[in-house]
Each structure stands twice: as C-alpha cells, then as structure tokens.
C-alpha cells in the first residue's frame, strides 16, 4: 500500500510541477497577479509531495519490502539499517528520485527565501524549476519507476552493491546531487532574467548566494567521492579522469567561472551575457553528467548495468533544455558585448582571463570525455582517452590561473597599474621562488613539476596574506589592526580562504604525485616489506564475520625505525548475497603522509592461511587534497553569508512592521 501511495504522490507531483511550470510563467508574461501567486504554494506542494514519495520508498527499504522490485534489487534483510536508508539512492531509480527531491527542495528554499524579490521574478524562477522538475518526474514515471511491484514478492533481496556499503556512500551522492541540482537555481535565475529582459546587478546579487551554495555542495561532493574512491576501492588513487568523474568536474569548472563572473556582474554590471551563458552551461553540464552516468554509454568505473532507453530520454531532455535556453539567449541577450569599459590590465580583464581559462579547461575535459563517443559514432572504431591526456593538458591550462589568482585581488576595478601590482606582490614572488627551489630538495629529489606546484602554492598563500594586510592598512582609519582585520567583509575572508584551499590542494596533488611509493609483493606470514621507510610485517590472516559478509582479515605490524607504531587490518570481504569480493584497505592517516595496505588475493586459493599478494603504499600529503577542498567550501560558505545578501531581506521584513506603525 505504501509504495502505491509513493507512486501516486509522484504522479501528483508531476501534475503540480506542470502547473508550476506553466501558470506562473504565463502569469508573469501577461501580468496576472493571481497566476503569479500560484508559484510559491505550488513549489511548496511539489516539495511536500516528492518528499512524501521519497519517504515511502525509504519506508519500503527500512521495512524490507521485497515485493518492490527496486528494494529487492538493492537491499537485503541482513543489511544494516544505515545502508538500507542509503540504499534508497544506491541504484538508478532511487538516485533519480533523490535528484528530483533535491530539485524540489531547492525550489522550496527559493520560495521561502525570496521575499525581497519581485513576484514576477520569483514566478519565473520557480516556473523554470517546475519545468525542469516536470521533465525529470516524467522520466522517472515513464522509464524508471522505483515503486514497481514484484509479484509474487521476493523472499530475500539481492543486497546493495558491496562497494556502496560504506559511510562515504551515505553522503557522497546527496552532496554531489545538491551541487548538480543546485546549479538549476542559477540556471532558473538566468532564464528568468532573460525572460524579463532585466539583466542587471540586482539579478546578479540574487543569484550569487544560490550559485555559491550549489558550488559548495558540488565541491564537497566531488571531494567526498574522491576520498571514497581512495579508501574504498583499494587502488590508492584519488582521481582517475574517469568519464563520470569528469562529468562532475565539468560543472565545477564552469561553476567556478560563474561565481567569479557573477562577482563582476554584481559589482560592475559587466559580463552579463557571459554570466548568463555560464549559468546555462553549468546546468547543461550537470544534465550531461546525469546522462553520462545513467546511460552507460562510456566504459567507466562508475558504469553499473544500465538501460540505454533511459539514456535516450535524458539525451532528448538535454537537447530540449540546451536548445530552448540557447534560443532564448540568442533572442533576448542584450547585444552590448561585455558591457562596461575596462582597461587592458584591470580586475575585470584578469577575471575574464580566469573565466576563459576555466572554460578552456572544461572544454578540454569535455573533448577528452566525449571524443571516444564521437569516434565510435563516426564508425571509426572504439578508442579510449587516458589520464595522460588530461594531465598533459591540465597543467599548462591551470598554471596561469594559479598565477593570476595571486594577482587579481590586488588589481583595481576598471584600470590597474602593472607597476603597483608588481610592487605589491614582489615579496610573494620571492617567497614562491625560494620555496620552489628549496622545499623539493629538503624532501627528496628536485623535479621541475614539483617545484612549479610548490611555487604556486606558496605564491597563492603569500599573496593572500599580503593582500589581506594591504586591505586592512587601507581601511584602518585610526583603528587597531586587529579590529580592522575582523571588520572586513565576509566575502573578502571567504575569497582568500577558498584561494588558500586551492593552495593546500595543489600541495597535496604535487607532493603525492612526486613522492608517493607503492609496492605489490607476495608475503608469507612472518615476512615483511618496506616502503619509504615504513616496515610492514605480515602476521597472516584470520577469518572474521560481519553482519552480511565473511572476511579474511590481514594482521600487519607497522613499524618505523624498528619501533612498533600500530596494527593494520585490511580485509578481503565476501558478501553472502552477491559473489562479489571487496577489498577494504587499512590506512594509517597522518597530516604529512598516509600509509596504506590492502590485501590482494591468496597465492593459493585453497590456502588462505598461506601467502598473499599484498599492496602497500606511501602517500605523502594526500589528505591535503581533500583538506584543500574543505577549505574551498568553507571559504565559499563564509562568502555566501556576507551581510550584503541579507541586508535587503531584513529591510523587506522590517517594512511591513513600519507601515503598520504609520
């Protein structure tokens, strides 16, 4: 009964989203207040219906209702409760339901936190979100209904894919989807602005915090996925340039360009067309990502068994969304170029360069990701584009961005002087060069790329500090340094924190790719292996039992300089319900390095007490990669909470009180 209620709620939701996507839009066009007023309640109803539907599916999982096909395929009565809940988005149908849940929540939040916006604007934004939601609801109902029944019901479920039975999975997809779907709000704002013909600074200011929020979630989601791959897959890598990873990275690159471009539009009124185009692109790439993941057209580590018909639906949806948006853009975008005059060297020109480079970076990733599809479609054979392509292209494209990141905060709007900037950053340059020359030598061998990476990291941190000091000195006006420092706007703190996050990330990437070490060896109990000064002694394996699996658990002693540090217990798990073995690595994490051991296979299958193939890693600074991402997100969060986004809201709430008194 409950699954049917969920299904019914989903059908109602599709109808409500259609109403939300049409009535307020027409109302805004023909200026009918009653129709415009439909937007907020409809968005609220939509969110409630989808939430109810999602709750129904969750209930089916928690209650082990194996008469629902989707539950029977992705759960098991032995599955611990937290993974039963996470199992809701462990497969195609449920993850789409999560997608639409996120979309309707974003729309609901816009409906709640948009009191300072004109009603017609709200109507158009929510209407756009309604149309997108309608497309996805239709997709779920027609091709991927999670509530489909299995008659007679299965006695036992097939269990959740063991790879997904991990705390990382509980939060990775929701974070990522919040980011993906969050760009729909930036997109909806852009479409609303195009429809109204009012692309102005106010639009950019409304759009900014929403875009930032989406970007924060996407950053965390990607970082979470990378971390999960690192510890769960047992390959020791953190990024594989896999098509599905690229699919999440492309909207991130464009989203990063978008938040910078929005800043220019808000502060200077320039780059309007460009900003709109970026907002459309960011969301289109999110849709493309969904298509790539869900259609299975590419060989990928994320490629689960998929149904090509679904791919075609998303492809049509994608073409419709992009086509309609670009047509609207072509018809409505103001034909004034970049708008606002600025000098060859100015903050605008530097941010424009940053934008162009980010877009180029995204284009190269897109090319590398879609090239195999293109070649295949042309009948020229099947090919794959490997990580070396991405590395070869990415370093040269990203390097100027990292360099400009240090300079742009010093550049004035409109016209900046090269001499002034050079004077302001000369010490940062010196520090960068010293670090680049010295640090790799301290650590081991000197490589040019290592030096380059460390130079950029030091450069970004040093310029951020110098810029901060400079700004405080300029705005001091007799107050103490500290008091002035703390009274800086949050967006300024946020910017530098996020940039320092990039520096931390660059340090992690540079160090781990320069100085990591790994060994694959055969070990008998009692034997040991050394990697980068870490001594692993293998004491054999023993059988252990988990809730829904049995595992061979390795027993290793980790020692440094002859001193025992800790036990390490990697596992090789066999899940009861699927014949799928799983490697659980054991990681000793540290601020400056991780050491990592994982079990391969017993050399002789029938003698698990004997020799094993074992992989050990030494990963210097690897945690800085994710630490950097967390700092970036934190910076984004602080910037998002800047007072100027709320001043108007407060003014709006105070106004009715004031009028009552009068």
């Amino acid at each position: 009964m409950i699954p049917e209620l969920g299904h019914f709620a989903l059908i109602l939701a599709a109808l409500v989203s259609l109403i939300l996507g049409t009535l307020p839009m027409i109302g805004a066009h023909t200026n009918r207040q009653a129709w415009i007023a439909v937007a907020r309640p409809a968005a609220t109803a939509l969110a409630m219906l989808v939430t109810f539907s999602f709750a129904c599916l969750t209930q089916a999982f928690v209650a082990n209702d194996f008469s629902v096909v989707y539950v029977a395929q992705h759960s098991n009565s032995l599955l611990p409760i937290e993974y039963r809940v996470a199992g809701v988005w462990g497969g195609h149908e449920g993850s789409l339901l999560l997608w639409i849940l996120m979309l309707t929540w974003w729309a609901f939040l816009v409906a709640v936190f948009s009191r300072e916006l004109p009603d017609t604007m709200v109507a158009r934004v929510l209407g756009t979100l309604g149309l997108v939601g309608f497309g996805f609801l239709l997709f779920i109902l027609l091709t991927s209904n999670p509530f489909e029944r299995l008659l007679p019901g299965a006695a036992e479920g097939r269990d959740l894919n063991p790879l997904l039975q991990d705390p990382g999975l509980v939060i990775h997809p929701p974070l990522l989807y919040m980011g993906y779907v969050g760009f729909s709000v930036a997109y909806a704002f852009a479409i609303a602005a195009l429809l109204s013909g009012k692309l102005d600074a106010a639009w950019a200011r409304w759009s900014r915090p929403w875009t930032m929020a989406a970007w924060i979630f996407l950053t965390l989601g990607i970082a979470m996925g990378s971390w999960w791959a690192y510890y769960e897959l047992g390959w020791g890598g953190w990024w594989f340039w896999d098509p599905v990873e690229n699919a999440s990275f492309m909207p991130w690159l464009i989203g990063t360009a978008l938040i910078h471009s929005l800043a220019v539009t808000e502060k200077r009124g320039s780059f309007k067309n460009w900003t709109v185009l970026l907002a459309i692109s960011a969301f289109s790439l999110s849709l493309l990502g969904t298509f790539l993941v869900r259609s299975g057209v590419l060989t990928s580590v994320h490629a689960f068994a998929t149904d090509p018909r679904r791919g075609i639906f998303i492809l049509i949806f994608l073409v419709a969304v992009i086509g309609a948006s670009l047509t609207l853009f072509a018809a409505r975008a103001p034909k004034v170029g970049l708008g606002g005059r600025f000098g060859l060297v100015s903050r605008e020109s530097l941010l424009l360069t940053n934008n162009v480079l980010l877009v180029v970076a995204c284009a190269t990733v897109l090319l590398g990701t879609l090239y195999p599809l293109l070649i295949d479609a042309l009948g020229a054979g099947k090919i794959s584009v490997g990580p070396p392509y991405f590395n070869a292209v990415f370093v040269p494209v990203m390097s100027p961005i990292l360099f400009l990141m240090g300079i742009a905060p010093f550049a004035r709007w409109k016209d900046a002087s090269v001499a002034d900037i050079a004077k302001a950053v000369k010490w940062a340059l010196a520090i960068g060069v010293i670090v680049a020359i010295a640090l790799p030598l301290v650590y081991g061998q000197w490589y040019a790329l290592t030096a380059l990476g460390l130079f950029f990291a030091a450069w970004i941190v040093a310029t951020a500090i110098l810029n901060f000091i400079e700004r405080v000195q300029h705005t001091r006006a007799g107050r103490s340094f500290l008091a002035t420092a703390f009274s800086q706007p949050r967006s300024f703190f946020g910017m530098h924190l996020a940039h320092i996050g990039i520096a931390v990330f660059v340090i992690g990437v540079t160090m781990v790719s320069s100085y990591q070490d790994e060994k694959d060896v055969k070990l008998a109990p009692g034997q040991s292996v050394d990697v980068a000064g870490y001594h692993f002694t293998f004491n054999g394996v023993k059988a252990v039992e988990g809730p829904n699996y049995v595992a061979a658990q390795g027993d290793f002693d980790l020692a440094v300089d002859g001193k025992f540090v800790r036990k390490m217990n990697p596992e090789k798990r066999n899940y009861h319900s699927s014949a799928m073995p799983m490697t659980e690595a054991s990681i000793d994490a540290g601020l400056l390095r991780d050491v990592y051991v994982s079990l391969g296979e017993p050399i002789d299958r029938d003698k698990p007490e004997g020799e094993w193939a074992v992989r050990v890693y030494y990963k210097p600074f690897v945690d800085w990669i994710w630490g950097g991402c967390v700092l970036m997100s934190l910076g984004g969060l602080i910037a998002m909470l800047d007072r100027r986004y709320r001043v108007k809201a407060r003014a709006a709430t105070q106004l009715p009180a004031g009028t009552q008194q009068a």
Binding site: N161, L163, L233, G234, W235, G296, V297, T299, V301, H302, A303, F304, A305, R341, G343, L344, S349, V356, V360, T364, L367, G368, Y371, G381, K382, I383, S384, V385, G386, P388, Y389, A392, V393, P396, V397, D520, V521, K522, S578, A579, M580, P581, M582, T583, S598, G600, E601, I603, E611, A613, R615
Partner: protein
C-alpha cells in the same frame, strides 16, 4: 584609436592563447589515445606494434595462472573465436573473474603476449564493459550468421 589598439591586442592575445591550447590539446590527444582491438583482430595481426591499445573480451575459463613471484598473473582473453594470452603484474580488481568480461590496456610483445599495464575494474558484478561485449558479439556474428546471441547471453554462456 587607443581603444581600438587595446581591442586588437586583446583579440590577438586571445587568438594566440587559443592556438597554443589547441596545439597542446591535439598533441596530447594524439599521443594518448588507445584503440580498442578485439582478440580476432589481434590474431589477424591488426594490432599496432609498440603502441598502447585496449583489448576486450571474456577471461577464459581455467586460464588464470599466478607466476612464481606471486604478483604476476597470466590469463587469456577471448572473444570466443580467438584467444590472446595476457600477462599482468599487480593486483587485479576485485571483480576480475574467469568467464566474465574484462578490458585490459597494454602492448603486444614479440612473442604475441599482451602485456597489460592496466586491467579495468568494474563496480557491478552484472556489468559487462561495452567493448568486451562488442568483441564477443562480433566474433559470434562472424561464426554464426544466423544466430547472433546478445552479449548478455554470451557473457552468461561463459559463466
């Protein structure tokens, strides 16, 4: 005049940057593409010599053998028509199994053994890499023009 000069400088600079990037991308793309080649094609001598490529098919039943060092593994990839011996040093992905689809990347050595540098992992026991499926499909179509079993059935047949 001055603003026109500025514009020219901007456009010129942008074109130069785009040119450099395009050259970079094409060069990188050219040297990092791996072709997919089916075992039948390899047997027919169509594999590039000394260049990385990818091979897809089924891991032949009973073909996995571990070498004395414990970490080098020999196995056979087949599209049901032709068999290609493969050697790989390292730890195999969890879902690598006899009778299942697999994709490996590497080079052919002088003795005709495919030396793999990478064996692609999958996330799902029921997933068949499309390239592996296609290799098997092609071979079976060639073998029997009347019956062309779907790749899924072929994968099951290998089980």
């Amino acid at each position: 005049m001055k603003s026109r000069h500025k514009k020219l400088a901007l456009i010129g600079g942008a074109l130069a940057i785009i040119g450099i990037i395009a050259a970079l991308v094409l060069n990188a793309l050219n040297s990092n593409i791996a072709l997919y080649i089916t075992p039948t094609e390899v047997a027919a001598g169509k594999a590039p010599q000394g260049k990385l490529f990818r091979i897809g098919g089924l891991v032949k039943e009973g073909s996995i053998q571990r070498q004395a060092d414990g970490v080098t593994i020999a196995f056979v990839i087949t599209d049901t028509a032709k068999d290609i011996p493969v050697a790989y040093k390292g730890i195999l992905p969890d879902l690598f199994k006899e009778g299942k689809g697999a994709v490996a990347q590497g080079k052919l050595n002088e003795t005709g053994t495919f030396v793999a540098t990478e064996v692609l992992a999958k996330h799902d026991e029921n997933y068949m890499p499309p390239e592996a499926a296609k290799a098997v499909d092609d071979a079976q179509k060639a073998a029997n023009k009347h019956v062309s079993p779907s790749s899924a059935e072929a994968a099951k047949a290998g089980n």
